[in-house]
Assembly symmetry: D2
């Protein structure tokens, strides 16, 4: 069965900024869609902030195995009701991949239970991502490291819960480090945070980045659809 | 320096139910306060739902090293603004101990990022809590197991993130099991969930239960006071 | 590509004990092989203690994706050289499933770095295994719990490192609990411990048990073949 | 009660190499002892490879709360019987701090169950250690980062089990990163690996390094003395 992917993008920078539009003429979501399509048995849809219900109706989420999330300037505009809906979808089994500035998105912050804060710098520097989990399915086809340049810098301390699995650590030319690829299980769903990606750099045209995103889609894929929002009174199994 | 403890209780069952009042005449918070006082170098205060700001002003939280939370019937009445305040206090370094039905409190659910659901049954059965982390400071003075009877049953699956440390697992006479003592680091603070405790059973007069709660107060104690709610742009340390 | 499974059994109880032989006439390894064969795209071989090199030559291990291990009375007879070979195979990417009394096998103890001790009792009692990770691939097709009866009891404290993932917790009629399905990543390989199974009980004819073992074979499957036994001196990537 | 520290050093480089002797005239063990003594309520002893039983008799280990381990060129000379003794001491509750090249010591490798391999380079470069767990007791008094220069480089992938707590990540001028401060629970004991330290660089005269080592001594301190090397048959608690 195909892996049903929904790529969500706030899709605002691309409309307002010529630089961004040149790099991602159809939006970051379409660049990612085109980049991962040949890398797996995916059925890909997109959704954006300005669609009704941000494009994330119950029907869409119920038929989504993995939701990718890219947001930045418009995090506060995402309706709390939709965030709650996405949250419950993840806890019921849908995978979520939070990309780059989605570290501060409402949905990622809510899933983590922390502020997800970090240091940052936009200086076009070199980033080298080291593979610290070569046996992990998300690292399939990735060597000891790869580089992204120019890259926006994200630096520690990243205020996240200790990841279940730490997969990549970034080195930045300016002197910082960052936990750039991390996974967590939440409810019945899998969450993957992946750092690379910036609206004014062509990061989502990079082969290694696209490979990791595609691998992430396979790894976070929904395995089950079962709400965790039930608190049943239950009879004893053994006689009391 | 003394360990400054604030015990929070919604304090409603005790006012409305004669059975509860007989067991906890001054409220669950006062029973816990009396029970842990001789077990550590504690400075203990209490706070309750019906006080202004639920008794949890900025000043109180800033001078609290560990906050204990007991709530049940009135979870929805806790103001979101106060929840946010407590949340940030934990992320800044304050410890939090969530007791029994606090699994469904707004603050615990927010810190976990999951629904924290479970099965339950009020049948006065026997619970046996097994110590699976005998080297952990929270288990100081606790043997291989202890029993609580009568106990309300809480059964798996408990919808929590995989604990950083699983400390006790409960066996119930009716046939269920439960992860009854669990810890997580969130931001700069430590969170401890401890299952025992029920308004109509005298659980907070039990020596073992009180010992674990007191040990938990020592372990979750604030180590630092430093917000994680900052996202600073930062200059490179190395020349670019 | 098929998942290449090697089922290792010390194969001694079956030769010495009539009761065991009646339950597992061709050995526990053949019972497991027959039980999992229809449940996945497996290529199954077996190996036993009394074969040359215990049936675990370099060639066999290099062409094994998952090694299952059943041992009990003859743990000390396994040659250290073979244990080292299996250990390096796991660290290079081969999966390992340690079954039941393999908790005390040389290879499992070495991978864990702890004593892997536990309490036990052979009283034919009821075991109920609770699913605490319903979204995990190893729990595919498993409900909230299943029962095994008669079961040998294994009780906490189980001296293992905190599992990366705790998947099932057992309840025993005699009053104990146990972490019965646990996973760990070691090097490039995955390790899965699964408790059920005993030589004098027909546990490896149980549908649920076989399903979990088969799922475990899929989950621990080798993803990579890359030794971790190299300590290279390396030139700087950046100019110093 | 004082925290009883035993600092173990193979003490060979200092005898054979003039450069090392100039930096550590009385040996690395004495430099560490002098450096941490004022930073805690410690009772400090030392032990070295060439003493009978490597200075690690049963009596010494039984009265040691934390054992620090520094070894490099003589790892293979440590007797397996002593390694087994230290291993059981840790599992029974003694803390262990593995320093720098002790990543490849027999005792650390045995506790981890992995090869503990890494990349390395001796080029006197700059290392910057980032604090990713500011609320952890081992980071008490440590800011966002500190630098060590000159430093030997250790680079990922470090073949260790996922740490229970990742505390510091190193950035190296040459382009690598490393998980430099990590903790694990094993049996009843705590294990702390801390990367800095090299025989030809004066790293153990550095204030920050010594502070972390001293904090580590407090954190890994023995809490309990209880073997995990027992497999008792046990009667049922509940009637069967």
């Amino acid at each position: 069965m195909k892996n049903r992917i929904t790529i969500w993008n706030e899709f605002r920078h691309e409309k307002e900024n010529e630089t961004v539009r040149l790099i991602y003429p159809n939006g970051i979501h379409e660049a990612i869609a085109a980049g991962i399509a040949p890398r797996g048995d995916f059925e890909i849809r997109t959704a954006t902030l300005d669609e009704p219900e941000h494009g994330l109706t119950e029907e869409i989420l119920d038929s989504t195995d993995v939701l990718l999330w890219w947001g930045h300037m418009a995090h506060p505009e995402v309706e709390d009701e939709i965030v709650e809906r996405v949250h419950q979808a993840v806890l019921s089994g849908m995978g979520l991949i939070a990309l780059h500035s989605a570290h501060a998105s409402k949905i990622f912050v809510r899933l983590m239970g922390t502020n997800c804060s970090l240091k940052w710098r936009e200086a076009g520097e070199r980033e080298r991502l080291w593979n610290v989990a070569p046996g992990h399915p998300i690292m399939e086809g990735i060597g000891q490291y790869f580089e992204v340049e120019p890259a926006e810098m994200y630096g520690e301390r990243f205020d996240i819960p200790e990841p279940d699995e730490l997969i990549m650590i970034s080195w930045f030319a300016g002197g910082e480090v960052f936990r750039s690829a991390c996974t967590w299980q939440r409810g019945n769903g899998r969450v993957f945070y992946f750092r690379p990606g910036h609206e004014t750099y062509p990061v989502y045209h990079d082969e290694n980045v696209l490979r990791v995103v595609a691998n992430g889609c396979k790894w976070t894929r929904r395995r089950i659809s079962k709400t965790t929002f039930e608190f049943p009174r239950t009879d004893p199994i053994e006689s009391l």
